[in-house]
């Protein structure tokens, strides 16, 4: 069955990120001038406005900042798997990202250590998700 959930809209800014997830690597945009690190990527560094931005590989480790269980399907592709869990993770490198927590347990606590796992959802797209470490 074909994948019928939303897929990332690739553009010149985020393409390096999505290319890397296909190789099970989690990249963060990085400013070589001031060291600021962020996700999602931007056209300039929001701290020092440097235009030339690079990428660094994140450890994939972080802590759980929050989580919710989505009980409504805003896209048809989710209808058969409600509720599904979305998490907020603070990466070791600093940025906070939204993702899915693959664990179903109700026994969660803010601050729990998590690590990235990669799920190839189509031939073109691999989504980084998180699991309790």
């Amino acid at each position: 069955m074909s994948y019928n959930k939303p897929l990332p809209r690739l553009d010149t800014l985020n393409k390096p990120f999505w290319d890397a997830t296909k190789q099970n690597r989690f990249l963060l945009q990085h400013c070589p001038s001031c060291g600021d690190t962020r996700f999602p990527p931007g056209p300039v560094c929001p701290k020092c406005l440097a235009g030339e931005q690079t990428w660094i590989e994140a450890s994939g480790k972080g802590t759980l900042e929050s989580w919710v269980d989505m009980h409504r399907a805003y896209w048809d592709g989710y209808k058969d798997e409600l509720p599904y869990r979305v998490c907020l993770v603070r990466l070791e490198e600093g940025p906070v990202v939204v993702s899915n927590l693959v664990d179903k347990t109700e026994n969660l606590r803010m601050g729990a250590p998590v690590k990235v796992v990669f799920e190839a959802v189509t031939d073109e797209v691999t989504l980084p998700k998180f699991t309790l470490a």
């Binding site: 939303p6 897929l7 999602p40 929050s66 989505m70 805003y74 509720p83 939204v98």
Partner: protein, 376 residues
């Protein structure tokens, strides 16, 4: 240069109007706005041709709006249909009048989201996190409330108090959409939309329109109703993280504190002077965030503050006496500002706060605003 503080008590709301609230597929946003405008004009008795300022929000085309109403103002501004625009718009109009851009400004907002089946999520509002299924302002507020639960031990039963008090007020408002009383148990047994938030933590989606007419304090004396003064206001944006829309790791606490302090200092009032708080209750947790940010209670203490009907008429601090977005009408802050005016005019009947002198509006959002209104 004029300082903002010098605008204390210089601008007044002279006319307010709204439509009925509900599901009106037969009428468009211009039509709804026109009805609200006519009601506001009748409310204050102004000759509409005197109106020389026009602000529209969530209305497609300002010029068509002017044509519909027969207005050719000398000041026009269009704001997008985001709720946070209500507080911004009122402050912009006040400063425009003070600067002499116009003498009488009509502020118009219309929403046709109910009849046009707006979802506030999914492909309607594409975002960075769609590939993980994270969408809708409600989910962002659920994410914040979970953090509040984890950090401070706030419970969903405490959160329920917000919805229960505001519904109680709606039951006293003949115009409100939801007029059946609810209990904490009703809240706790309602279906989840985005856990930990349930149906009764979410605002309504309904059609309707609101209009406010503003002018200077001096000109305000010439109209039918007692003027209500804009005594103070404050502002602070929080644009990171905008990729996670409608979200702040810190519950907008720094922004609410800053905007609140500006408003209190400008108006020269304190918490004890505030007779009612009109709070942008798109989702019930924003009320808790507001109480803490404004300093009505300490950080993490809002759960205890709202218990035992703390936000109901006769309680510690009446909040959203018209029923708010949760139970009266989803007019994205505009109707809450109208309610502030009506409370200060003492037009609120069964839901009237006795001796109401000071009402505060607050919108904890990426564009946080607070406005303090007093009797003229």
């Amino acid at each position: 240069m004029t300082e903002l503080k010098d605008l204390k008590d210089k601008i007044a709301v002279i006319g307010v109007g709204n439509t009925r609230y509900g599901n009106f597929p037969e009428i468009d946003d211009y039509g709804l706005a026109a009805h609200a405008f006519r009601n506001a004009v009748q409310d204050c008795g102004i000759d509409k041709d005197k109106i020389d300022g026009l602000l529209v929000s969530r209305i497609p085309y300002y010029a068509r709006m002017g044509e519909v109403l027969g207005l050719n103002p000398k000041w026009t501004i269009t704001l997008p249909g985001h709720g946070r625009m209500s507080g911004m718009g009122i402050i912009e109009a006040a400063t425009a009048i003070a600067a002499g851009h116009c003498d009488y400004a009509a502020l118009l907002y219309a929403n046709i989201g109910r009849s046009r089946r707006v979802n506030y999520g999914g492909d309607e509002s594409p975002g960075t996190w769609d590939p993980w299924g994270f969408t809708s302002p409600g989910a962002a507020h659920a994410m914040m409330f979970r953090r509040h639960m984890e950090l401070y031990g706030t419970t969903t039963r405490q959160l329920a108090e917000v919805s229960v008090s505001i519904r109680y007020h709606a039951c006293l408002n003949p115009d409100a959409v939801m007029r059946n009383p609810i209990t904490i148990e009703d809240h706790e047994s309602a279906r989840f939309i985005t856990a930990p938030l349930r149906l009764l933590d979410y605002c309504l989606i309904n059609d309707g329109a609101v209009c406010l007419i503003l002018t200077s304090k001096e000109r305000a004396k010439d109209f039918a109703k007692p003027p209500v003064l804009i005594s103070g206001f404050g502002a602070q944006e929080t644009y990171s993280p905008s990729s996670i829309a409608n979200f702040d790791m810190d519950f907008w606490y720094p922004a609410i504190s800053a905007a609140g302090k500006q408003a209190y200092d400008m108006a020269g009032v304190g918490h004890k002077d505030v007779d009612a708080l009109m709070c942008y209750d798109n989702f019930s947790p924003t009320v808790l965030f507001s109480l803490e940010g404004l300093g009505f209670c300490g950080r993490g203490e809002s759960g205890a503050f709202v218990e035992n009907g703390g936000l109901s008429l006769g309680g510690k601090l009446p909040v959203n006496t018209d029923g708010g977005h949760l139970s009266n009408s989803y007019m994205q802050g505009w109707a809450l500002n109208v309610e502030a005016v009506r409370q200060l005019r003492r037009e609120c009947g069964a839901r009237q706060i006795p001796d109401c002198e000071v009402v505060q509006y607050v919108q904890p959002t990426p564009c946080t605003r607070s406005i303090i209104y007093t009797r003229g």
